[in-house]
């Protein structure tokens, strides 16, 4: 696998959406290619950052009360 092919699979690799065979090929490429590894790490950091920044928000307790009341009359 060359750099262009590896980068084409970048997000599928990070999202764990590749077949085991292709995933192995990408991983092998990354072991031998520092520039691609840096790019993958950068994108990985971005995705983790995104999730960490956005997962914190929870439904307000008042909304849950409203729904329970509406559904079950409590």
């Amino acid at each position: 696998m060359n750099c262009r092919e590896a980068v084409e699979h970048l997000y599928e690799y990070l999202d764990k959406e590749l077949t085991p065979q292709v995933e192995r090929e990408v991983r092998q490429h990354l072991e031998d290619c520092q520039p691609c590894l840096e790019q993958f790490d950068f994108e990985d950091a971005f995705l983790k950052f995104l999730q960490a920044r956005c997962r914190g928000r929870c439904a307000p307790p008042e909304l849950k009360r409203r729904i329970l009341h509406e559904l079950f009359g409590e």
Binding site: Y11, E12, D15, E17, P35, E38, Q39, D41, F42, E43, A45, F46, L47, F49, L50, Q51, R53, C54, R55, G56, R57, C58, A59, P60, L63, K64, R66, I67, E70, L71, F72
Partner: protein
């Protein structure tokens, strides 16, 4: 038509309620986060989630227990949003998402900040604001995949598009979001950047 029950014996209603609480209500936070990003404000998000839960409870007999309740609920939520909220959403869709040329932030920063440390300086509200500025098709792909961690297949099912479309939207959405955060970080002086 109800059968006589002895006290303490679960009735069909109790059973329905119990399974709904166990399999549907546990996804309240997910529904709320997605609703918030779709509608853009807390009041509409509240109403959208409440309406979704009501519709889901009424249709609970159609849900196959043990299958993907989160996906099922999000599909209901999205349909409700499209039918009733999108008309008055803040961002009318005038953007041709396929014409958006993705900008690769990494290529610009591989000397200055190859590890993307600047991301850590960006506060939550700024990230959410940047997501809210994305075209709707990008926003929903990002929220379902990156925030809620759903698979391409699940996202494709919820959005009723092929998996290939999910991939290409996610690619463009992520690059566009990166570019927005990059511009913000340059503006704030977190990074120098070199994008003209």
């Amino acid at each position: 038509m109800t059968e006589p029950t002895t006290p303490g014996t679960p009735t069909p209603v109790d059973d329905r309620r119990e399974t709904f609480e166990r399999e549907a209500l546990v996804h309240l936070d997910t529904l709320y986060r997605v609703a918030l990003r779709l509608t853009g404000n807390a009041a509409d998000a509240d109403d959208l989630v409440q309406e979704t839960m009501l519709k889901a409870y009424r249709a609970w007999h159609q849900y196959q227990q043990g299958t993907n309740a989160k996906g099922w609920l999000l599909t209901i939520l999205r349909h409700a949003f499209i039918n009733e909220y999108r008309r008055r959403a803040r961002h009318p869709e005038t953007v041709d998402v396929d014409a958006i040329e993705p900008f690769a932030v990494f290529e610009d920063l591989q000397e200055e900040d190859p590890q993307g440390r600047f991301f850590d300086q960006i506060v939550d509200d700024e990230v959410l604001r940047a997501i809210d500025e994305l075209p709707e098709q990008f926003r929903e792909a990002i929220v379902l995949s990156d925030v809620e961690g759903m698979s391409y297949e699940e996202v494709a099912r919820i959005l009723s598009v092929p998996i290939g479309t999910v991939k290409s939207r996610l690619f463009r959405a992520r690059r566009l979001l990166q570019a927005k955060l990059y511009d913000y970080a340059v503006g704030m002086g977190y990074i120098k950047g070199s994008r003209a």
